[in-house]
Symmetry: C2
Subunit: 344 residues, 2 copies
DNA sequence: CTGAAAGCGCTAACAG
DNA sequence: CTGTTAGCGCTTTCAG
């Protein structure tokens, strides 16, 4: 196998200088069409492959964007990635993707790797175990634009694009109230994360706003977002002397798990208990009954995150931190619908 | 913001040569502990970040591995990516991930981008629209190890790790036969892809091996792998004069779609019609009834793919193309179970 | 329209 | 144990 051809090989074979080849290959208009053609032809013939590393080193611009997600299970993060890829590639950026696996140590390593790779910006959704932020500060110290999405730290001066989780939860619970539910339980996620904390807050405020009191007994703290933890939660709730008549879950999988348990106990959904989840996972349209859920705008979130990055790198001055908040969308399905009608 | 510190800055401030710094930073043991300590300290102080680009250029080794997946919806590809990441990072490789979006043009661009980025190998699962393979040959011509996973071209000399889709389908259909089903329908995927073609072949052979004939009327050709196409397929099958008593789907989502339609028609699963899917999506444990499916060994596939790559780059000689075939696992759930018992 | 020369940041002989 | 030197492949002044 022949050694990989470089710009110098082309130059020699054509009796031209490397700079001419470079310019020809990059389509500069101060090169004659004739030479351009010759260069292109030989490049093809030699199977020439530009070395991005060398160009990036020289230009001081890698055209790479770093991305860190906690995991890629479920529908949400992949959809964000779709949005990111679309906008990034349109702007001429390649995306270097890492998973932190919900582990802050891994997240730190990801940051290191991306910084070493000379990415021009980093988009990150924090891991579940991230409680300190020095590794992020380091990024900013290097002058690398840093954009959080979905999961962000509780700090003032950070750029982020997030969902209005509070509103999403509020709307879902309001909907349940309007369907006639009065004892609405909640599957709550970790309260140190902005996302699930705000869902919990939205839940509580929606109850209060509609004259219902918040009953701590009706809140089950999910150990994780699996369907198994929803099953466990439902079993707990069924032990209560007075059973809830609805459940709002911070995630879809536990909601579906709860429905499994209800089915086993011959408790009808939504007649005996209404159920609503959060994320709008594709499978929510496939459960029996279909599951009401809140859409998280994943794709749009990804797009906005890249756009924010693109803005940041344009400004020479440190421009004020921006926070973009997307509106959630409640998708009402059979698991919570027309309770009044169905009840009788 | 200070200009990013380089190895030269450290050298100057310490009155040492750059090579000493380089060696110290890389932990060579021909540098005194004393100087190592000084170097490390100043590096930390200056917020020094090694420039991987420069090192890679010089060493001719990028420590980057390219990955192309058709999409990251559903569970399968993310699980493969998990396996890839795990083994790759253990071997000191960073993964550069691209999506082809089931578009061969995009796939070609991805290949270009990865080649430009000087990846040391490429792992790829072909897009659905890939019918020609020059872009892959180009990779091999450059001497870059190329490993296909799951979806591979019909060529002899390619390295690949795939699932035994034929066996998976065969087992699923055999299971349905053993449950007493005699008119087993099939939701078939595209026949130009090894995966879904082999599932179709396994389906047919399992029927024949058990004395059942293959009825073309019972095969519905899925336009895609969405649940909607499964709903459409089920509706078609219900128009037949003689209704099937089981359905084996090439994907899980259409299988779930079919179950929705059956539920609407008050056709019981599995009593009136058994259902089995393919992929073992997490949601298959959450449908009503739970869906029988074939696990695709995603994680193991990813791990094997990286291991194969690592082998390939060790051999100086072109070693013979390897094909690793993983064994599928049939997960029997309620949607197909104990038909005989339940029927009466 | 083209060439010469310098250098991005780092590593790796080769010398001491 | 440390320094000198050359150069990875490319882009970009500065000169013609």
């Amino acid at each position: 196998m022949a050694k990989k051809a470089s710009i110098t090989d082309i130059a020699k074979q054509l009796g031209l200088s490397v700079s001419t080849i470079s310019r020809a290959l990059n389509g500069h208009d101060d090169i004659s069409e004739a030479t351009k053609a010759r260069v292109w032809e030989l490049a093809k013939e030699l199977n020439y492959q530009p070395n991005h590393l060398a160009a990036a080193l020289r230009k001081g611009r890698s055209n790479m964007l770093g991305l860190i997600v906690p995991h890629i299970n479920g529908y949400f993060f992949p959809s964000v990635m779709d949005g990111i890829e679309a906008v990034a590639s349109k702007a001429g950026f390649n995306v270097m993707m890492c998973q932190s696996n919900e582990d802050v140590r891994r997240e730190k390593k990801n940051i290191e790797a991306l910084l070493n790779a000379q990415v021009e910006g980093i988009l990150v959704s924090m891991s579940r175990t991230t409680h300190e932020f020095q590794h992020f500060e380091k990024v900013q110290q290097q002058g690398i634009p840093l954009v959080f999405f979905d999961r962000m730290p509780d700090l003032a001066n950070v750029n982020a694009v997030i969902l209005d989780d509070y509103q999403g939860a509020y709307q879902a619970v309001k909907h349940l109230v309007e369907q006639g539910c009065t004892r609405i339980a909640h599957f709550a996620g970790p309260q140190h994360m902005n996302t699930t904390r705000n869902r919990h807050l939205g839940y509580m405020d929606a109850l209060r706003a509609h004259g219902l009191s918040v009953d701590e007994q009706l809140v089950y703290w999910l150990p994780n977002s699996s369907h198994a933890s929803g099953e466990a939660g439902m079993k707990e709730l069924l032990k209560l002397p007075e059973r809830p008549d609805a459940i709002f879950s911070s995630y879809d999988f536990p909601a579906a798990g709860a429905m499994m348990v209800l089915h086993e106990h011959n408790i009808r959904v939504p007649e005996d208990m209404a159920v609503a989840g959060f994320s709008n996972e594709p499978f929510t349209a496939l459960t029996q009954p279909r599951l009401t859920s809140v859409d998280q705008r994943g794709e749009q979130m990804g797009e906005s995150a890249v756009q924010l990055f693109l803005q940041m790198r344009k400004r020479t001055e440190n421009f004020p931190a921006q926070r973009i908040v997307l509106k959630p969308k409640l998708l009402i399905r059979d698991s919570s619908l027309q309770l009044e009608v169905k009840k009788k």
